[in-house]
Symmetry: C2
Subunit: 389 residues, 2 copies
């Protein structure tokens, strides 16, 4: 186990009806609110009204930034900063999924930055302070409600990049599983794949002796596998939605990665798909993950994949280890298919046209090599894209 | 899964050499330090010198309260408060195990209370504020380094009781597994039993659908079972000490109990053993736990015990569920014995003399009924003590 510094300051209000704390919690940190959201979904499912009731009930003035898209654009960030500065807004309230929360986090960082906020995304500028943020999460997926990361896209430059800062942890997040009842089958499936991918990124690591972290990772993977399919089939199953929602936060808040070396692999490869084709993040991950697993399976990694097969998929440990490893990868693929997710790039309209450009960008952004479990160069990355066609 | 409000604000600096952050961390919260510790052990193993080096290196003035005993006495708390008030001390630095940390937490609460600090323990007085606390942990056991609880004893009244407050969370804790290399075999075993008992207290619950929490509980139990015996046999095994140390914090910081109904059972029964006989907390737990499990095994609880047997002890799920349950309880007992721990009260010098008084006190403190997995009244508690003789 490696040394680590643990700090997860976000408070979580979990469960049905927790929206009632919203107004009072906001007042601990701010006086004027920017409500950040996407399209019509939170108006249709009633979440918008519940939030507005809370704000009005506590006499908290608020402004709105709506129309924030999945794979949130830097344009929305710029617009949000403008509204905040014009109105001296001192608290950000994203209501939605990871894209909405990521947009708000970047608005919060950009608010205190003199130049264009894209500088902060590409590392040209430095984050010093961040406006306080509270979130109302409406999907189990990115875990952005309990971490200090954000991912922002720039469609002009075909770039999708991450930024982080300790002050980007939300002060609090309200997680009401009922708010996810109206998430579509496809988005539920994609969200489950996203959570599982966050776990894979840190589970498949070369760090020795982080036994506790690995067993906890398996615990959350088993939870996703059990309840992802339930939530797809029974969208109003509270138990399934609750287990997925809490899994999404714990998968990425650091609990599983503290003490392990884990340079991510599949996310950087996937990000190019979203940057070039604007496809749903979790769908790209579901397609790529089994191909990545097959590609990196070798004599040095087979034990880890066998561990995965035995502990997560309950494959008989008496089998030979390559058999267990391949069985586990196949079960992973079959599971994503059972959720209704595509398993090839062609199914989502991606052909050979950009594979080389994407492989080049993906590796360039990582300084030439992606990941550390099995470091991947340009050729490796291109080959994974090709196999996934 | 039940609703919950999650807040675990303690920062953790985990790993060998992390003591180097001590001085700078203290300066974020205070200017004058009360160093709280027990006997000679931290002087023998070098931890005391490392702490002093840090304080001196940052020119932080400090006072000392030493001689704090296991099952810390209210007398030590009174003494600590006196030193703090006389010297306007504004930061508490317990260096040691749970008893030392619990003593410091109670000093921190008592500092701001006008009356006798025992009032706060018995609920006669109310905790309003707490001095900031940072800990240097030297044993994997109570988890006090990352929670907001303390347990204090009063040998005059034969009382051992808990108190808690949100401000009793340490601001930070330094967990260096090397500091636990010199913990004796017996204390290592008792600490492991204590961690496992904290998990049992929340794992064995009637809450339905907290699947994620239960799988994580099993993950930490498996870690304890794997490494407890290793640490007993190879006290300088870093991997074992690290896994146990991090398990101790995660077992009780709320991660496993948020979302579950869990009134503790074995701890209240054990506390009377320590109050009457001053025996090591973890040893009392190791003795009582299997007897408690056998006593509460019935048609309503057998499924949970079978789940425990299958998922933690790898018992074949094809067996009948009572067979699995009884097998799991027997494995629990055998495991504690394998660690070198006693399995009966007589082995630690406890006879029939106080059983009735202890059963009465244990149940009285809990309002007549202990626990909620299977609520235990006076007769139940007395019977468990008797069987454990």
């Amino acid at each position: 186990m490696l040394n680590f510094n643990y700090s997860i300051p976000t408070k979580i209000f979990f469960g049905n009806g927790q929206i009632k704390v919203l107004g009072k919690e906001i007042k601990k940190y701010g006086t004027k609110v920017l409500l950040v959201y996407g399209g019509e979904s939170i108006k249709k499912n009633g979440v918008y009204d519940e939030v507005i009731d809370q704000l009005k009930g506590e006499d908290i003035p608020f402004w709105e930034l709506n129309g924030v898209k999945p794979n949130p654009r830097i344009d929305s960030v710029r617009e949000g900063i403008k509204i905040c500065r014009e109105n001296k807004i001192d608290f950000l309230l994203p209501v939605g999924g990871g894209s909405i929360i990521d947009c708000a986090k970047t608005i919060g960082a950009g608010y205190y930055y003199d130049g264009d906020p894209w500088d902060l995304v590409i590392g040209k500028g430095k984050i010093e302070k961040v406006l306080p943020i509270g979130t109302v999460s409406t999907i189990a997926a990115t875990g952005s409600e309990m971490d200090n990361y954000a991912v922002i896209s720039n469609l002009e430059t075909n770039q999708k990049l991450g930024l982080f800062h300790d002050n980007m942890f939300p002060k609090f997040s309200i997680l009401d599983p009922v708010y996810t009842f109206t998430v579509s089958q496809r988005q539920t499936a994609a969200g489950t794949a996203d959570i599982m991918s966050h776990i894979f990124e840190v589970y498949f690591s070369r760090t020795e002796g982080a036994y506790l972290q690995d067993r906890m990772a398996e615990a959350i993977l088993k939870t996703c596998i059990k309840y992802g399919i339930v939530a797809v089939k029974e969208p109003k199953n509270y138990e399934a939605r609750a287990n997925l929602m809490w899994s999404s936060s714990l998968a990425i808040n650091g609990l599983l990665s503290y003490g392990k070396e884990s340079m991510w692999s599949v996310h950087p490869i996937q990000h190019e798909l979203s940057a070039y084709y604007d496809i749903t993040h979790g769908i790209g991950l579901a397609i790529l993950t089994p191909y990545w697993m097959e590609y990196v399976l070798n004599d040095e990694t087979v034990d880890k994949f066998a561990e995965y097969g035995i502990n997560v998929w309950d494959i008989d440990k008496e089998n030979d280890k390559y058999g267990i490893a391949r069985g586990a990868i196949e079960k992973t693929r079959e599971y994503f298919i059972s959720l209704g997710l595509p398993s090839t790039l062609r199914e989502v309209g991606i052909g050979e046209e950009n594979l080389e450009n994407m492989a080049k960008k993906a590796t360039d952004y990582q300084g030439g090599t992606i990941g550390s479990f099995v470091p991947l160069n340009y050729e490796d990355t291109l080959e994974i894209y090709r196999r996934a066609l």
